[in-house]
């Protein structure tokens, strides 16, 4: 084993050596530099693996004396890891900067080497003065590297950096001096034993040391200089500061944290949280990529600072949490800075350039998702554990602030991602990529992925996760170049096989929802055959979403559930953003999902208090705050069911999605929320706040959602938007039914879920087929298409009869059960709203079919063809099932009823053949079908006989007040179809909720804008911030 000292000797020696080479050969020098850093990294790596496998820590005594008489270095697990990271960053950064280093000459390489070396020393040293020295060396190194970039901005930033670190170093020096004065030593371990914090002067000395380290970590608000340097410096340098330098300083803080009392740790936590929330808040308003990355970096470091402060509460999981979040930040931030250097454009909107090289986009997405903490990245695990531990130790405020901060970070990161995927890129210059710039990015992406999977395997709770679906997704990525029909077949086969394997394990709700998710998924995928070409990137995302959905079904623990939930969110986000004009909708979908996920996370955290297991049924025995847990989880799930107030993401997202994606995200994805609610309600049962039944509130929410969704649907001009709002409304019914907590209520809710899946798939595919043919979604621009698309018409007709709940089709069953449930339960007023919503549904049903299929065919649609076969096929498969369920209602309702019987033994329906009896009424779907069919056929036959010779006429042959129409457009009554209704009741759908969220968003942006004004760009202000920060913290502590 090579001594850790050689990390220093190698790098320093090389630095001197290439200095000797002078300008002989830049290539050789550069090679030597990289080799030296690589060698240093190898040493760290070898120590890391050795210590992990049980070797002892290594100590190096530099002058042959034991400490405190000489400087000593320690190579422990942490040191090994951090130096490994630093050297890795150094190496990759070196590769990345290769060209500019060579341009700037040999001295730059020397500075670079010394910088890397100093960071290594900072990590390893146990001597605080030595620490000071190398911190200064690192500062000088950074300033030296920054100034080599000749731009004015870089110079300014470097100057600010120099002044600020100079002042901080001064403070540190005072602290070190007095620490030495009181403790008589400079060795950390000995100082710790000297316990100088027991008297005030000593603790002030330690305070000065620690606060300086914290200041080096750029705490909010004394961090303007840091942000400026991120913005001004070459992104390659920015990457080094953000990844390597910050990791080192963080480790220093961790190292020195042993010196301080617990009260001071709390302050550290507070500072960290403040930084996390504050800088993420300010990031929202940023439009400059590097500066944004700066805010994000500082935020992440703030979170890690807080984690260091929270160490006593995190127990054994501390390492996992800290390291996983650090590693995610390290790779992601370095990768993003490097990407920024490749893009060379500072405006976030210009990142649409990335689309020119799709793999860059993939890398970008990986980094963003790693930063936010999506699975399978390490930070996901870290965040989960962190929240669980925080909840366990009753740090609720911190928990809340961390989630808020993460959410704020999500806002700007996902907006940025959206820009890069969807922003107009017409006027952007072509993107050129050099091999040396791309390799580090690719490696860091692999690093973050690999470390995520590694963490997954070493962690106990994550061990049960199934990675087979993820492997399947990876396979799909590999075969992404193949044509659609191959991949489609593979996907369907994959889902089918998976369903086959898990089918025996499914029962009850899991069976029903499993079938909706998987069988439904296969069905909607069938429609995918109509696409031609390769449809790049589509199938892995679809499978990601389905993997998430099936994960929900299979989850046994809260962790597995959350993991699956996040997978599903990620997959569906990308599916949604693939649509046209979907940038803002995808963002709002993501933000609502993120907020929902965080609420779920918090809910699981609270539920976990006082329980050792993570199994899902701990929800049944929540020890404390049960109503709060319930509310958090319910709201979290309701973001997916798009209940009123949380629905604004849905219409746009569903309407703009691709033809066969709409049914997936509308008919299938929303059911994930329903499934979550069912799990929640099953486990937690009735919940009361005081004597108020939360379920009553849910019933009202469901009812209002239903009315509002349906009414909004009636006023839409866009067919897919109409369907999307109709989903909102229908999910309202389902929530309403669930809130009853009775047999009939749940029977209605579950059967409506199934029915909603069927007709919504049907309608979205049908409308999608039309949109595919006529290339518009505005209904008033269509009309008269029944003659051109009769098959589509039939499926839409059946679909709307089901929605409207008109007998004899199966939609009526749900209505009937709901009536009986209401009578049993007695919640009349919300029920009245629900029934009102049911009638309002007629409005949009009719509008949908009239304005699209009936009325006047437009000039340009005279030669439109029927929708593609592959879109019709799944529709007709569903139609057959609908007819079956309509004629034999007990084939659907009886199994559900049997499944509900153990849960709600009271009030079940009584079946006699196809006759259902409740306590109030009875209903025989089969007989109704026969009778209605019989009468219909008789009347029809008679009319047919009477008028068998009817003359077929064309569309303008109408009695038109002795005139005749000339244009289909002016004859088709379709635009603003329910104008009088809008006049009467339009105020009900005034966009209050949208306005609320808009103004909330504007408010956050305004605050963000206000807060960031403290960074006025003047170095003296920054210096003042630093001093004021010290004073304020001092006053708080002492």
């Amino acid at each position: 084993m090579i001594s850790p000292i050689h990390i220093i000797t190698l790098t320093l020696g090389t630095a001197f050596f290439i200095g000797l080479l002078k300008k002989l050969n830049l290539n050789i020098s550069a090679l030597l530099m990289l080799v030296a850093i690589a060698a240093a990294g190898t040493i760290s790596a070898s120590w890391f693996t050795a210590i992990l496998s049980g070797a002892a820590n290594a100590e190096v005594f530099t002058a042959g004396f034991n400490p405190p008489y000489s400087i000593n270095l320690l190579m422990g697990k942490g040191e090994a890891l951090i130096t490994l990271l630093i050297n890795l960053a150094g190496f990759l950064g070196g590769v990345y900067l290769l060209k500019s280093l060579k341009e700037r000459g040999i001295y730059t390489m020397i500075i670079y080497l010394v910088f890397i070396m100093s960071l290594n020393v900072i990590v390893m040293t146990r001597d605080i003065f030595n620490l000071f020295v190398f911190m200064e060396v690192a500062s000088i190194g950074i300033a030296g590297l920054v100034i080599l970039d000749k731009s004015s901005k870089a110079t300014q930033a470097g100057f600010k950096y120099l002044i600020a670190t100079g002042v901080i170093a001064g403070i540190l020096l005072i602290g070190i001096a007095f620490t030495y004065y009181f403790a008589g030593t400079l060795n950390i371990d000995v100082i710790q034993q000297a316990s100088i914090i027991n008297f005030k002067a000593g603790s002030i000395a330690v305070f000065l040391v620690i606060i300086s380290i914290i200041l080096e970590l750029k705490p909010f608000p004394a961090n303007g200089w840091g942000i400026d340097v991120y913005e001004g410096a070459n992104p390659g340098i920015g990457a080094m500061i953000s990844a390597a330098s910050a990791s080192a300083m963080l480790f220093v803080l961790y190292k020195l944290a042993v010196l301080v009392p617990e009260s001071f740790l709390q302050i550290i936590t507070a500072i960290g949280i403040l930084t996390f929330v504050g800088s993420n808040l300010m990031g929202i308003k940023q439009s400059n990529a590097n500066r944004l990355l700066g805010y994000s970096s500082i935020g992440q470091i703030g979170l890690l600072t807080a984690i260091v402060g929270l160490k006593p509460f995190l127990g054994a999981q501390f390492e996992l949490i800290a390291v996983s979040i650090l590693i995610s930040h390290f790779f992601a931030k370095a990768g993003l800075f490097w990407l920024s250097g490749i893009v060379k454009k500072q405006n976030l909107k210009d990142w649409a350039m990335l689309r020119q090289k799709p793999y860059l986009l993939v890398l970008f997405g990986i980094f963003i998702f790693a930063l936010i903490g999506f699975p399978p990245f390490p930070s996901f695990l870290g965040k989960w554990e962190l929240i669980m531990k925080l909840a366990h130790s009753h740090h609720f405020y911190i928990l809340a602030f961390i989630l808020i901060g993460s959410f704020l970070e999500g806002i700007y990161l996902f907006r940025w991602l959206g820009f890069s995927i969807k922003m107009e890129d017409a006027n952007l210059p072509p993107l050129t990529v050099h091999w040396n710039k791309i390799i580090p990015v690719v490696l860091s992406a692999l690093g973050v992925l690999g470390s995520g999977i590694y963490f997954g395997t070493i962690t106990e709770i994550a061990a049960s996760l199934k990675y087979i679906p993820l492997l399947f997704i990876a396979l799909l990525y590999v075969i992404d170049f193949l044509p659609v029909y191959v991949k489609n077949t593979v996907s369907i086969a994959g889902i089918g096989y998976y369903l086959y394997t898990i089918y025996p394990d499914l029962e009850g709700f899991k069976l029903i929802f499993g079938l909706i998710f998987l069988a439904g998924g296969m069905l909607t995928l069938v429609a995918g055959y109509f696409k031609t070409g390769t449809r790049k990137g589509f199938y892995p995302l679809v499978m990601l979403m389905f993997a998430g959905l099936v994960g929900l079904i299979e989850a046994h623990t809260t962790f597995e559930f959350f993991f699956a939930w996040e997978l599903m969110t990620a997959g569906s986000y990308f599916l949604i953003i693939r649509g046209k004009k979907s940038m803002t909708h995808a963002l709002s979908y993501m933000l609502f999902s993120l907020a929902g996920a965080y609420l779920i996370l918090a809910g699981f955290g609270l539920a976990h208090i006082g329980q050792s297991s993570y199994a899902l049924d701990i929800l049944a025995s929540v020890q404390s705050f049960a109503p709060l847990v319930f509310i958090l989880l319910a709201i979290g799930f309701m973001t997916k069911t798009a209940s009123v107030g949380l629905h604004i993401w849905l219409p746009g997202a569903h309407a703009e999605a691709e033809t066969d994606v709409s049914p997936m995200v509308s008919a299938i994805l929303l059911k994930a929320g329903v499934f979550g609610l069912i799990l929640l309600m099953l486990n937690m049962g009735s919940q009361f706040i005081g004597s108020f039944n939360i379920y009553y509130a849910l019933a009202w929410i469901g009812a209002i959602t239903a009315v509002m969704g349906n009414m909004m649907a009636a006023f839409q001009e866009d067919a897919k938007r109409l369907l999307a709002y109709s989903s909102v409304g229908f999910l309202g019914y389902i929530l309403f039914g669930l809130s009853f907590m009775s047999h009939l209520g749940w029977l209605a809710a579950v059967s409506l879920s199934v029915v909603h899946f069927m007709f919504k798939t049907l309608l979205f595919l049908a409308i999608g087929g039309i949109v595919y043919r006529v290339k518009t979604k505005e209904m008033y621009k269509m009309g008269g298409l029944i003659k051109k698309m009769p098959f589509t018409f039939i499926s839409v007709l059946m679909g709307i009869i089901v929605i409207a709940g008109v007998p004899p089709l199966t939609g009526f069953g749900g209505k009937w059960i709901l009536y009986n449930a209401v009578l049993e339960k007695g919640w009349f007023f919300p029920s009245a709203l629900v029934f009102f919503a049911g009638i309002v549904a007629f409005l949009y049903c009719f509008r949908l079919i009239h304005t699209v299929f009936l009325g006047q065919l437009k000039d340009e649609h005279r030669e439109v063809k029927e929708a593609p076969f592959w879109l019709l096929l799944p529709q007709y498969m569903i139609l057959m099932v609908i007819m079956l369920f309509s004629a034999l209602p007990n084939s659907l309702l009886k199994p559900i009823g049997a499944m509900l019987a153990p849960i709600f033994p009271e009030g079940a329906l009584e079946w006699q053949g196809q006759l259902a009896k409740s306590g109030f009424g009875y209903w025989n779907g089969q007989v109704i079908m026969y009778i209605v069919g019989g009468i219909f056929v008789v009347v029809f036959a008679w009319l047919w006989y009477m008028n068998r010779n009817a003359q077929k006429v064309k569309q303008f042959n109408i009695g038109y007040s002795a005139e005749r129409p000339s244009l289909p457009e002016t004859t088709h009554f379709a635009y603003n179809f329910f104008a009088p209704y809008k006049k009467a009741l339009g105020f009900l759908v005034s966009p209050l909720i949208t306005n609320f969220w808009d103004s909330a968003s504007e408010g956050v942006h305004a605050i963000s804008d206000k807060v960031r004004r403290i960074y006025n760009g003047n170095v003296q202000t920054y210096a003042f911030h630093i001093l004021a920060f010290i004073v304020v913290v001092y006053l708080i502590i002492f």
Binding site: L797, A832, I839, F842, L843, V927, N947, I958, A984
Partner: protein
């Protein structure tokens, strides 16, 4: 319930009686309207002649399949509504197919014909049809809310959704009618009834002068004849429904005739006196006055 051939005969009998009753009722009501206007008015059997005339038309045109089967939907809706109800209480013959479903079925089956008709009318391609449908549906949503609440109140009162049982509970003197046992629900439902009958002041749907009779504007000949049959059966079926719910049902045909005639007179009188509402006015009116009364009814039942 065994379903035999005789049920079909019984059903035909019911339809026949109600059809004739509906036609005569129509004639008489128009006659009354004329007498109010000091005219002699049509002959009471004029509706028969009109129907025969329409069937006797020799030519027909069609705008497409939906246009053609819309009247079928409409008539099926009317006949179905009638047959899903017990017409005469206690009579096996005239209970028809009420074993197939309860009050909820009847309430929702009303829309079967409405929706089918709307579709067919829309396929005619006439803008006035679509305007009429837009108005009609808007109005339906409005009066359906007090109606639903009133029906819920009644179902709660009698603890059943079975129409036969509801009627049974009202037997034994007129004081046990819902009219007296649950006056608020009755008032709310009777207001909704005005909307359901589509007479003035809620007849803007068919406004003959501005949108030539609205949805059916393109229908003619036999197609119109079918619609006219339905115009006889459907109001009669609705009258029977409201009679069953609110006025103790009927144990014999004469009783049915008297009761339904009087119920119909309610909408006739209101219609003769009040001018037409615009759609937004009627929507607001339904959601203010009858709805308030229906809410009172529910509160009284609940507490």
């Amino acid at each position: 319930m065994d379903f035999g051939f005789k049920h079909i005969l019984y059903a035909l009998l019911t339809v026949f009686i109600v059809l004739n009753y509906g036609l005569i009722l129509q004639g008489i009501v128009r006659k009354i309207g004329a007498r109010v206007g000091r005219r002699y008015g049509i002959r009471w059997y004029q509706p028969y002649i009109d129907i025969i005339k329409n069937y006797a038309k020799r030519s027909t045109i069609t705008h497409g399949v939906m246009f053609y089967i819309a009247p079928v939907f409409r008539l099926t809706g009317g006949i179905g509504l009638l047959l899903f109800m017990p017409v005469i209480f206690g009579s096996e013959i005239f209970s028809n197919f009420s074993f197939a479903g309860d009050l909820v079925l009847v309430l929702y089956f009303q829309f079967f014909g409405v929706l089918g008709m709307a579709l067919g009318a829309a396929e005619g391609g006439h803008p006035y049809s679509a305007i009429g449908v837009s108005r009609g549906l808007s109005q339906v949503t409005a009066f359906e809310l007090p109606l639903t609440l009133g029906v819920l109140a009644i179902a709660m009162q009698y603890q059943t959704l079975n129409i036969t049982e509801i009627v049974a509970a009202q037997q034994g003197g007129f004081l046990s009618w819902t009219l007296f046992t649950n006056p608020f629900a009755t008032i709310a439902i009777m207001f909704s009834f005005l909307g359901a009958m589509g007479r003035s002041p809620f007849d803007v749907v068919l406004a003959p002068q501005e949108i030539p009779i609205g949805p059916p504007t393109e229908f003619h000949s036999g197609l119109l004849g079918v619609l006219q049959l339905n115009r006889a059966i459907f109001p009669a079926a609705k009258l029977i429904l409201f009679m069953n719910l609110l006025f103790g049902g009927a144990t014999s045909w004469p009783e049915l005739v008297v009761k339904t005639f009087l119920i119909y007179m309610w909408s006739v009188f209101v219609g003769t006196v009040f001018p037409r509402f615009r759609v937004d006015q009627s929507v607001r009116w339904f959601l203010v006055v009858p709805l308030t009364i229906a809410i009172i009814a529910i509160i009284l039942i609940r507490f």
